[in-house]
């Protein structure tokens, strides 16, 4: 799973639209497995735009059947029924989309993106507007789908969620890629260590700089973690000791500054 993040107006939606061929790029090329993407390939992609992306007055089953047929699925009705069942929409299959709850609309939308079993799934802000249960359902389906070996790319502002779900992320700003790679790689090994000693005594570690000193402990940089731990134990009882690594949120703030 791949997270696509960036501040508002950075170009996330535009990028996704270009990937899907909805917009044409001024410059550059979209490649899939090393080959330039053309329309026959795109029909095997799945896309879920931000907010809706369904005919409000159309009923669920014909809508999914139509989407499957447009993607060239051989048995569109069968595919629609499969996904209706899989996403728990059986009782709603004959309802108009506009009559459904937001959560169910989101499921139909997801089913519409998945109904042709895409080789690549691209979702624009799939989690926005969902309650925590809806987020869990959606992330469960996406993880399950990604586990079958299909790349899932999604954009989101919920960085904790991105951090939890994604193996890799890309951060863009003003239409440019400012950071990309696995979350592990991006967070890197800052070499800093946060340690908290009971009673908060002030102590130093030879050769290390103090980055932060406060109620949550002291952050040392530039020393071997073992040396820091030794110094801390000498100062008192250690209650917290961890490598200090930035969260995705911190990386994001740093990257788009």
């Amino acid at each position: 799973m791949f997270g696509f993040v960036g501040p508002n107006g950075a170009g996330k939606t535009t990028t996704m639209r270009i990937v899907l061929g909805v917009l044409s790029a001024d410059r550059g090329a979209v490649r899939w497995h090393g080959k330039p993407v053309e329309s026959a390939m795109r029909r095997r992609f799945g896309y879920m735009p931000e907010e809706r992306g369904l005919y409000p007055k159309m009923r669920v089953r014909p809508q999914l059947t139509y989407m499957a047929a447009l993607h060239g699925v051989k048995d569109p009705e069968g595919a629609a029924d499969r996904w209706i069942e899989r996403l728990g929409l059986s009782e709603r299959a004959g309802d108009r989309v506009e009559e459904l709850s937001l959560g169910n609309q989101q499921r139909v939308q997801l089913a519409a993106a998945l109904v042709h079993e895409p080789e690549l799934l691209v979702l624009d802000e799939p989690f926005s507007g969902l309650d925590p249960v809806g987020v869990d359902v959606l992330s469960g389906v996406l993880s399950e789908y990604a586990a079958t070996g299909v790349p899932v790319v999604f954009s989101s502002h919920q960085l904790e969620l991105v951090e939890r779900l994604c193996e890799a992320v890309a951060i863009i700003k003003d239409g440019r890629l400012v950071a990309s790679g696995t979350v592990e790689h991006l967070r890197g090994d800052s070499g800093a260590v946060r340690v908290k000693v009971e009673g908060d005594p002030v102590f130093d570690v030879p050769g290390a700089q103090v980055l932060d000193r406060g109620p949550r402990g002291t952050v040392f940089e530039g020393a071997d973690p073992d040396a820091v731990l030794d110094a801390a134990r000498a100062a008192g009882r250690v209650t917290y000791f961890a490598l200090e690594r930035p969260t995705l949120t911190e990386l994001f703030r740093e990257a788009v500054k």
């Binding site: 639209r17 899907l20 061929g21 909805v22 917009l23 329309s39 795109r42 029909r43 992609f45 896309y47 879920m48 735009p49 931000e50 907010e51 809706r52 992306g53 369904l54 005919y55 409000p56 007055k57 159309m58 014909p62 139509y66 989407m67 047929a69 447009l70 993607h71 519409a112 993106a113």
Partner: protein
């Protein structure tokens, strides 16, 4: 199945299942029944009563004979002195302001013949207005044709526009354009709604003719069938032209609420054509009729009445259709380009000038 066919099929099935579509079709059917059947019922109920004025003794004798014969014609005849009588019999002539009923004329002719079949020439019919018994009936058909064309072009054009806006405002357009080309989507939409409109017209025509034939209100003859075929043919021509323009009007705006204003120039043009249609019915060979036959915006409504009334020469019909086809052939690619350029602008209304600029950059 090709994308165009898929899109067209969806348009037909979804639209035809809409309650508003069924209701409006039902209402139209009722109107046809009312128009066709009700006058017949009113006419058949009682024997017709005619008034005849006479100016000389010979005429009086014929009129009195007609009064006696009237029963077998399921009619009543009264001899009156009122100058407003239906007809005036005078010196072997039937005089009337307007074309009198055939029934009355027949009755008087039969009465006249009974006196001395060999010596008496048939009565001559003299009307103040030029006599063309078919003229009124055909004008009625022509009126009905422009009414139906006007309604159908307006309705289906608007449906094209609102269908485009529905896809824009629901962002389903993004999903669709990720799988098919904008021109395929547009072609499918126009084709699907066009088929539906054509099918509805065929159904209404067949229904109308069947009801009229069954009740005997209208004689179903070649002229009437030609008129129906013409209305259908000109619907196709006019729809192809207007649908492309309506699609652009829809693509320019983000929401249904703004659709009224962006389509209003087009609905105005259709409305004006409708009124011009009246002028053409009254004067099918006048300057207005001749000029508007070659303007693609008015021709679909003003040409059919001319043809129905027999006032359009074959070359005029051919040239008018030619102009229509040429204009449509120019408009559709242009509309497809504008549509492709602006259909993803879901944020705000796009000005036509801006849309043209974007389309030319593509």
């Amino acid at each position: 199945m090709s994308p165009v066919r898929l899109v067209a099929r969806r348009e037909v099935t979804e639209r035809s299942r809409e309650r508003s579509f069924m209701i409006s079709t039902g209402i139209t059917l009722l109107i046809i029944v009312a128009v066709v059947v009700v006058p017949g019922l009113l006419g058949v109920g009682d024997p017709s009563t005619y008034t005849v004025r006479v100016t000389d003794d010979a005429s009086r004798a014929v009129a009195e004979r007609a009064v006696a014969l009237a029963d077998s014609f399921d009619a009543q005849v009264e001899i009156v002195a009122d100058p407003d009588a239906d007809v005036t019999l005078s010196g072997g002539e039937i005089r009337a302001e307007e074309e009198p009923d055939d029934e009355l004329v027949n009755l008087l002719q039969v009465a006249n013949q009974e006196f001395d079949p060999n010596a008496r020439p048939p009565l001559r019919l003299v009307t103040a207005e030029s006599a063309d018994p078919e003229r009124d009936a055909m004008a009625g058909v022509a009126f009905f044709a422009i009414l139906v064309l006007y309604g159908q072009l307006l309705t289906y054009g608007f449906w094209v526009a609102s269908g485009v806006v529905e896809e824009k405002s629901s962002r389903v357009i993004e999903v669709l354009l990720a799988t098919i080309k904008p021109k395929d989507l547009l072609a499918g939409k126009i084709l699907g709604l066009g088929l539906l409109g054509f099918g509805q017209l065929v159904m209404l025509s067949v229904f109308g003719l069947a009801v009229a034939g069954a009740t005997g209100t209208v004689d179903i003859d070649g002229d009437l069938l030609v008129a129906c075929a013409l209305a259908l043919g000109w619907f196709v021509l006019g729809y192809a032209f207007y649908a492309a323009a309506f699609a652009v009007a829809g693509a320019l705006v983000p929401r249904q609420e703004e659709l009224q204003s962006s389509t209003s120039p087009l609905t105005m043009v259709i409305l004006v054509s409708f009124f011009v249609g009246f002028v053409v019915i009254n004067d099918p060979d006048g300057t207005v009729a001749q000029v508007t036959a070659f303007i693609p915006t008015t021709a679909p409504i003003t040409m059919p009445p001319r043809i129905i009334l027999g006032e359009a020469a074959a070359w005029e019909i051919a040239a008018s259709i030619g102009v229509m086809l040429a204009a449509t052939a120019l408009l559709i690619p242009l509309a497809a380009r504008i549509y492709s350029a602006v259909v993803l602008r879901t944020g705000s209304t796009v000005k036509l000038s801006e849309a043209l600029r974007l389309a030319s950059k593509q």
